[in-house]
């Protein structure tokens, strides 16, 4: 089984979010970038398929040379080879287009992406990729088993979950549940050394036209200080929620 894991290179959750150039660009100064958490659950599940079902696992990312440490980390965790599409990730649709071209080339049976990235939270790349490849698609996926060309996935729905039966080729929008947080792997020294020797292929490509354009960013208005209510004055809390906040 040939498996591709899509990796988004995103600011760590604890990053301060600021903008530059007249609030038109994200300010990366001092920002630590990591593997998108939803992608990391998928990558870890992919390692299980590699170890138990002899899958080969490639990882792919769209971005400049600055994203390579993130791909090397994925190699250190255990992926076999990495692909970097040398292009700016401007929106979900252009990223999906770049990924689809590389995925067609590689003839993958299973592609796992995160259900959404933690920077733009669009949740659009896996679905668009599936539609472009005419592959089956399950998102918000919390469990995945493969048996030959058959796949059984569990999708989180509003208020519960559903079990889905489908066939390869398949694109997954993965999240926590594919593996648990305690299953995530921290690369060890041997993994890091081996990752240096693993292939990282850079694909040059024509620039895709984006269908959307981020014109400007703004930050929410600063929040006022919390209004504290005494624990024995519940009436006051109800009064505030009813008359001031008007939410009950």
């Amino acid at each position: 089984m040939k498996l591709l894991v899509c990796i988004s290179h995103v600011p760590d959750t604890t990053s301060k979010i600021n903008f530059t150039e007249g609030d038109t660009k994200f300010d990366t100064t001092g920002v630590q970038f990591v593997i998108n958490p939803n992608d990391e659950f998928g990558l870890t599940r992919a390692m299980w398929f590699k170890e138990k079902q002899n899958a080969t696992v490639d990882v792919i990312s769209v971005g400049g040379a600055e994203t390579e440490p993130t791909l090397r980390k994925a190699l250190a965790i255990g992926a076999d080879a990495a692909i970097r599409v040398n292009a700016e990730a401007t929106d979900g649709q252009s990223v999906a287009t770049y990924l689809a071209a590389a995925a067609k080339e590689g003839q993958y049976d299973l592609i796992i992406a995160g259900r959404e990235s933690i920077d733009y939270n669009g949740g659009m790349v896996p679905g668009m990729l599936a539609a472009m490849l005419d592959a089956n698609f399950v998102t918000n996926c919390i469990s995945l088993e493969i048996d030959g060309t058959k796949a059984t996935a569990i999708r989180e729905i509003d208020g519960g979950k559903e079990t889905i039966s489908t066939v390869l080729p398949l694109v997954i929008g993965g999240q926590k549940g594919l593996v648990e947080e305690s299953d995530l792997r921290i690369p060890n020294m041997r993994g890091i050394m081996m990752a240096r020797k693993k292939p990282l292929t850079v694909i040059e490509t024509a620039t895709e036209t984006s269908e959307t354009h981020s014109v400007s960013f703004e930050k929410p208005a600063p929040r006022g200080a919390v209004k504290l209510v005494e624990a024995d004055n519940i009436d006051e809390l109800i009064n505030l929620l009813h008359n001031e906040a008007k939410v009950i």
Binding site: I17, N121, M128, M132, E230, I248
Partner: protein
């Protein structure tokens, strides 16, 4: 060239998010000087949509259960039939599953997490959340057809009388090699996605046996229940209740956090809720910096009193 909204239903009953996208769609249609069409599946009485500005309803009766590929194809064909230039969906799990597929099918730009009506129609510009609710991004859509995903509770329900003329729609739909084999869903509970109020609790509750008062509080408020990540990791509550960055996002009008310290990953997921209340014994808990109202106190004393007082309040304001 009307606006098309996908109005989701469950057992023939419209979800609250469906009425919200209809309300939003009506505002967009008015700004564009056009009419509003809604697409429904297996709805016998769609007249409720007429209260929220829907002029015409296309109802599909042929499909059985939800299938993303088939439903996305139906939305695409409805948009083509109506010559719609704007297609609007909600932020429900199903709508977010469908929208990227519809986007590719219609070669249409798609922007999710939208929190307001378009600030400009040419170029078509909308405001969406970004960086897990730490910022907003004004985004232009440059394709002929535009797809908008409206964030929960961002627009509200706006009444607007319209005809809601119902037409049966029977397109020839795509086939799919994907099928749902079983569904596990509590039918009598308010879902986090559809809730205006969410009551959430954390490790401060000490054990799953203490959730009775959380469920009672939610019941009094007509709210959904949720929990923090450690609580779902410990198996005290199901993963589907976990809210936060790696769990479900919450965009409620009121979010009540009980015994949750407020880790940055938790706050990232609930940030777009309008009013936040925190109840915690520790006055230094980070949640107090993110909340609108707070009580420093023991949940086991505060929550039962809150339930009692709310029952009185509800009885007086019924």
């Amino acid at each position: 060239m009307p606006v098309l909204v996908y109005t989701e239903s469950d057992q023939g009953k419209f979800k609250k998010a469906a009425l919200e996208v209809a309300s939003y769609g009506k505002a967009v249609a008015e700004a564009m000087g056009t009419s509003l069409t809604a697409l429904t599946f297996k709805v016998s009485d769609a007249s409720e949509l007429g209260n929220y500005g829907v002029d015409k309803v296309l109802n599909i009766n042929s499909t059985n259960t939800f299938n993303a590929k088939i439903y996305a194809d139906a939305i695409k064909q409805a948009a083509e039939k109506e010559n719609a230039t704007v297609v609007i969906l909600s932020a429900s799990a199903d709508s977010r599953y469908l929208a990227p597929l519809v986007s590719v099918g219609l070669s249409a730009a798609y922007v999710p997490n939208v929190v307001a009506t378009p600030s400009n129609l040419s170029p078509f510009t909308v405001k969406r959340t970004a960086f897990t609710n730490k910022a907003f991004c004004n985004t232009e859509l440059s394709t002929a057809i535009k797809i908008i995903g409206v964030s929960n509770n961002s627009f509200g329900l706006i009444e607007n009388k319209a005809a809601a003329h119902i037409e049966e729609f029977s397109p020839s739909l795509a086939t799919s090699s994907t099928s749902v084999t079983s569904t596990d869903k509590a039918s009598d509970k308010v879902t986090i996605a559809d809730a205006e109020i969410v009551v959430s609790a954390g490790r401060g509750l000490k054990g799953p046996e203490n959730w009775g008062m959380i469920e009672e509080l939610a019941d009094v408020l007509g709210a959904a229940t949720a929990c923090s990540k450690p609580v779902s990791d410990l198996g005290w509550r199901s993963h589907s209740e976990h809210v936060g960055q790696t769990g479900k996002p919450v965009a409620a009008n009121l979010y009540i956090a009980i015994g949750i310290s407020g880790a940055i990953q938790h706050l990232a997921g609930i940030n777009s809720s309008k009013i936040k209340v925190v109840i915690n014994t520790d006055p230094e808990a980070p949640f107090f910096k993110a909340a609108d109202y707070g009580i420093v106190g023991d949940a086991f004393e505060v929550v039962p009193k809150l339930i009692e007082k709310l029952k009185v309040f509800k009885a007086q304001n019924a």
